[in-house]
C-alpha cells in the first residue's frame, strides 16, 4: 500500500525513480515508505495478537483438550509447510539482495520461487482443511468429532480455523503483492537506487512467515 504511493510514476525511467513533489529527496521518500511499512506491519502484528490472546486464554482454561486436539492435526504437513514458508522467506530476502545489485532476472526468479512455495503452502493447507471437514473437526457448533469430546475441543478448532484462515488470507494477499513486484522486476525497474518496492514486498512476506513461526508451535506442537 505504501510502496504504491511512494514509488509511483516510475515507468519509463528504469534506473532513477522519481521523487514525489512533496518529498525533499529520494532518501526521505524511501525512509518514509519503509517506516510506513513497519507501521503497517505493526498493525498486522496486533491484528494477530487478538487471536493469540484468545488462544492463550482458552488454552489456559482447557489444557488437556488443547493438547489432545493439537494431536489431531497432521504434524508432518505442518512441519512441511513451516519449512516451505521459511524457504520462501529466504528467497524473498535474496530477491532484495539481487534488486540492490540491479539483477532483475534473479529478482524475478526468486519471487517466482517464493510465489510457487506460497502456492504449495496453500495446497497443503487445502488438504489439511479437507481432512478436518471430513472428520467434522470444525468450529463451534459444527464440531462433531466423536474421537475427542472434552470441553474446549471445539474452541480449539474454532481458533485453529480462524487463525490459519486469517493467515492463509495474508498468504494470498502476499502472493498478489509479490506478483505485482515481479511484474515490475520483469520490466527491469530495480537498481541500486530503486529497490524499495522489492524490499517492502518482501517485508510483508517475512511478516507472513513470522506469524506462521508462532502459529506453528501453538497449534501443532503445544
Amino acid at each position: 500500500m505504501q510502496s504504491s504511493t511512494a514509488t509511483a510514476g516510475v515507468a519509463g525511467v528504469p534506473h532513477r525513480p522519481q521523487v514525489a513533489a512533496h518529498f525533499a529527496s529520494l532518501e526521505v521518500q524511501n525512509h518514509a515508505a519503509r517506516l510506513g511499512m513497519w507501521l503497517f506491519l505493526a498493525t498486522e502484528i496486533l491484528l494477530f495478537a487478538g487471536l493469540f490472546v484468545i488462544y492463550a486464554n482458552y488454552r489456559f482454561l482447557f489444557p488437556e483438550a488443547f493438547a489432545l486436539a493439537s494431536r489431531e492435526l497432521n504434524l508432518n504437513m505442518g512441519t512441511f509447510n513451516t519449512l516451505l514458508l521459511i524457504t520462501s522467506s529466504f528467497t524473498a530476502a535474496m530477491a532484495v539482495h539481487y534488486a540492490k545489485e540491479a539483477k532483475n532476472k534473479q529478482v524475478v526468479l526468486m519471487f517466482v520461487l517464493t510465489i510457487l512455495m506460497a502456492l504449495g503452502f496453500l495446497v497443503v493447507k487445502y488438504f489439511e482443511y479437507s481432512h478436518k471437514f471430513h472428520e467434522h473437526q470444525l468450529p463451534g457448533p459444527y464440531y462433531a468429532f466423536p474421537g475427542l469430546t472434552l470441553p474446549g475441543a471445539s474452541a480449539y478448532f474454532t481458533i485453529y480455523f480462524l487463525s490459519t484462515g486469517l493467515h492463509a488470507f495474508h498468504v494470498v494477499i502476499g502472493m498478489i503483492v509479490l506478483g505485482w513486484v515481479t511484474l515490475k522486476a520483469m520490466r527491469n525497474e530495480f537498481s541500486h537506487h530503486n529497490y524499495t518496492a522489492v524490499e517492502l514486498g518482501s517485508m510483508y512476506w517475512h511478516l507472513v512467515d513470522l506469524v506462521w513461526i508462532f502459529l506453528f508451535p501453538m497449534l501443532y506442537l503445544i
Partner: protein
C-alpha cells in the same frame, strides 16, 4: 538540505552498506531457521510434561528474531523502525499478560464452563480443582 531529516540519510547509508555483505548471511540464517524448526518439532513430539510450551515459544521467538533482524533488516537500521517493531511486540506481550492474569485469578465459578457438544464432563478434574470453590457439576451434587 543536509540539515533535513538526518534520520532518512542515516538509514539510507545503512541499507546501502549492507549489500556488500553478500548472500552468505541469508543462507546462514535460512539454515538456522530450518534446524530450529526441526528441533522444535522433535522436542514437540517428546510431549515433555512441563515447559513444553515455554520451550516451543522460546524457539519460536529465536526464529522470529532471526527473521526480523536479518531478513527484515532490523539489525542494520536502528531508529524508528526498531521502536515500532519492539513496541508492537511489547503490546502483544502486555495484552497477553493482563488477560491471563485475569483468568488466572478470577473467582473460579466465573470461568467458562467448557460447554461442548457433549455432556458436562463428570470425570475430568474440572469440578474438583478448577471448578471447585462451592460449585459442582450437575449429577455430582450429594443432595
Amino acid at each position: 538540505m543536509s540539515a533535513m531529516a538526518n534520520e532518512s540519510f542515516k538509514e539510507d547509508r545503512e541499507m546501502r552498506q549492507e549489500h556488500h555483505s553478500g548472500p552468505g548471511k541469508y543462507i546462514a540464517v535460512w539454515g538456522a531457521l530450518m534446524v530450529l524448526t526441526l528441533v522444535t518439532v522433535f522436542t514437540g513430539k517428546m510431549h515433555i510434561e512441563t515447559g513444553a510450551l515455554a520451550l516451543a515459544l522460546v524457539i519460536a521467538s529465536v526464529k522470529g528474531a532471526l527473521v526480523a533482524l536479518y531478513f527484515m533488516h532490523l539489525a542494520e537500521h536502528q531508529g524508528a523502525s526498531r521502536v515500532v517493531f519492539i513496541t508492537s511486540m511489547l503490546f502483544v506481550v502486555l495484552m497477553l499478560l493482563f488477560t491471563l492474569f485475569d483468568i488466572g485469578t478470577r473467582f473460579r465459578p466465573a470461568l467458562p464452563n467448557a460447554a461442548t457438544p457433549q455432556e458436562w464432563p463428570v470425570e475430568t478434574r474440572g469440578q474438583s480443582g478448577r471448578y471447585g470453590g462451592g460449585l459442582k457439576a450437575p449429577g455430582t451434587n450429594p443432595k
